[in-house]
Amino acid sequence: MNKNLFRLQCPIPKFDFDIITLAHGSGGLLTGELLESGVFNLLKNEKLDKRHDGAFLNINGDIAFSTDSFVISPIFFPGGDIGELSVNGTVNDVAMCGAVPQYLSLSLILEEGLPIKDFWDILVSIKYAAQKAGVEIVTGDTKVVERGKGDKIFINTTGIGKIHHKANIDIKNIKKGDKIIVSNNIATHGTAILSVREGLEFETNMISDTRCLNHLTLMLLDKFGHDIHFFRDPTRSGIAGTLNEIASGMNLGIMLNNENIPIDSQVKAACEILGLDPLYSANEGIFMAFVSESIANYVVDLLKKSEDAKNAAIIAEVVDDHHGQVLITNPLGGRSVVQMPVGEQLPRIC
């Protein structure tokens, strides 16, 4: 279902207040009202409904377990918001372990003064994202901090899921000759967020690509099993940072092919103007798969059938050369090193 249609089905309940106050975190009547009419009612499921201190779960076998905190500004951005991001982020981290994400915890830290309307919109996004990913939110917590002690809303989510029976995801499985596939266009999320930062606003219709990736990774595991050697979603430090992290732990090197890296032309142009390198730009809706050479083209073909991975491409190869480093081809046939980023990329002067 479309996100806007989904929102219409979740109208904001009638509260006696329009902003979050410290009383909402005190555990008293106002906390009760916020949780009962708000959180519990909206996110309703059998496990959450027990209203216990924790959730009772029954999972047999190996599980993957991951946590992430979300502290972004702005909290609403083109193509998504912090709620959706906080579900997708943890779902994707669990999925990258080769697991089927099943249950999430949700911890909200609200700053006094947050409009209830914003709070509700974020909650609805959380429900929407959870439904899309096929996970349940089974336990959680809400705290309120004084104005100025937070930044509107911070969210922590933790997720667990059972490892897929055909999965064997381990950095040690990466071999010489493995192809590295990226599931869709790079740098989309980072550039879309930048386009609405105060001081850098530019007119564009770029939107974040935040999405859950578990359906795609599970589809690949079902079909290719052990031939999938490694998954990773290149979030904060972009594909450059993530590939460097992986390479630094290996006795092998990574050779990126500049010409094959998929990127939207608007995103590319925005990066040119601001002097940013899309390789270092944040991503929220893509993953990289290290796969055996023999299946690489099949993986790309299969991914391309999905709307969420229609620009999938082989972007790099694992080589027995320049160990621990990532190199990239450049237009003249030369090669240069792709360094680990130092900090956040800063737009240049001219």
Partner: protein, 370 residues
């Protein structure tokens, strides 16, 4: 991307490269003035594939690198004042001042905002009448028009809470200084395309005349640079010394006259300190008297030393004068890295040291199998 993609065509680039190889017979030292060109030359591997007769020297055209240390201290002093919002271009933030960087001041609680356009700073001043908004106006001739325009806008809006801390530098006086330096050994220049898109290239005619050196206005894409180098080598081999324009799609001889008018309305040429090089006569812009109420230097009592000493063993000055290359520095890749920069050229993405550190495979202890 029109006007970019075509200039990254590998086949055409190889053709021009071959033409350079067929033209060159003697050794030549060519300095690219602008840091953006340095970055592109190294990122695209051009320095690795040029014939050995051609040595590229990396010039002083990185605004972050030449902004004097005491001005960074001043910016930090202002940022740390109660009630001041300091606005800056992004890549100034990581440059170490004598005590700390702007990024560290930001972490310490100062209100420092990264902007892409100075006009945004005027907007912030308008929205926050109870705050003093200061824009750290650095750069070459390229950023001068928009910095000047921000002052004009502030005046039109009647804002009294906006000012700029200027550190503007100019290319032609820097070329003169380099040519007069007995240690420098430069045969020709690639002039900075974007500076010339504002100023034109008439200013370079007397330099060519006086020093008998070719100056070729060049763009930033691989094909631009290779073409610029080819035009320069042809002049050198033929014994000509002229101003030529490779970047015709952006640069006219007269430049952008409206932008020049805005600059001359707001700024006056004055002496300027260049980090690593020293004071160069008539090489910078200061605000004119009639705009002194927008001059942060006059508006605030800034208590910082005007003379601060550069970190030990930093050879940034020699690098920007083309006397040395980054790998010749004892600190390069050892004590001085982008994570812990000692000198400014390691900080900015346009600095020569950072370009060598980030992209060049030439000076790394890694084996690359053929």
């Amino acid at each position: 991307m029109k006007y970019l993609t075509e200039y990254r065509n590998p086949e055409l680039a190889r053709k021009v490269l071959n033409e350079i190889k067929n033209t060159v017979t003697k050794s030549w030292k060519i300095m690219e003035v602008c840091g953006g060109q340095t970055h592109s030359l190294i990122k695209n591997g051009i320095v690795d594939v040029l014939p050995k007769e051609i040595t590229m020297l990396h010039g002083p055209g990185c605004p972050v690198c030449v902004t004097p240390l005491h001005l960074i201290d001043k910016a930090i002093f202002l940022a740390e004042k109660e009630n001041v919002v300091l606005c800056s271009f992004g890549d100034m933030l990581r440059v170490p001042g004598s005590r700390k960087s702007l990024l560290e001041a930001k972490a310490g609680g100062s209100d420092i905002r990264i902007l892409y356009s100075p006009l945004e700073a005027v907007n912030i001043a308008k929205k926050n009448p109870d705050k003093e908004v200061v824009f750290f106006a650095v750069g070459f001739e390229t950023t001068a028009p928009s910095n000047a325009l921000s002052v004009i806008h502030a005046q039109k809006l009647g804002l009294t809470n906006y000012s700029i801390l200027t550190s503007h530098v100019l290319v032609p006086p820097a070329i003169t200084t380099l040519m007069n330096d007995p240690e420098s050994n430069i045969d020709a220049f690639l002039a900075a395309g974007h500076v010339c898109s504002v100023m034109g290239y008439w200013e370079y005619l007397p330099l060519v005349e006086k020093y008998k050196i070719p100056i070729v206005v060049s763009g930033f894409e691989p094909l631009d640079l290779l073409q610029g180098i080819l035009m320069t080598v042809k002049q050198l081999e033929e014994g000509r010394a002229e101003v030529e324009n490779q970047y015709v799609r952006m640069v006219k001889k007269s430049g952008n006259t409206s932008a020049q008018k805005i600059i001359s309305d707001v700024f006056v040429v004055g002496n300027q300190t260049w980090r690593g090089i020293g004071i160069i006569e008539k090489s910078g812009y200061n605000l004119k008297k009639e705009y002194s109420q927008y001059d942060a230097n006059k508006k605030f009592l800034i208590k910082t030393d005007n003379i601060v000493y550069e970190p030990d063993n930093c050879i940034a000055g020699d690098i920007m004068k083309g006397i040395k290359k980054p790998p010749e520095c004892l600190n390069f890749r050892k004590k001085c890295t982008p994570k812990n920069p000692i000198g400014a050229p390691m900080v900015s993405s346009e600095g020569a040291c950072a370009a060598y550190y980030n992209f060049s495979t030439m000076f790394k202890k890694i084996s690359i199998k053929k």
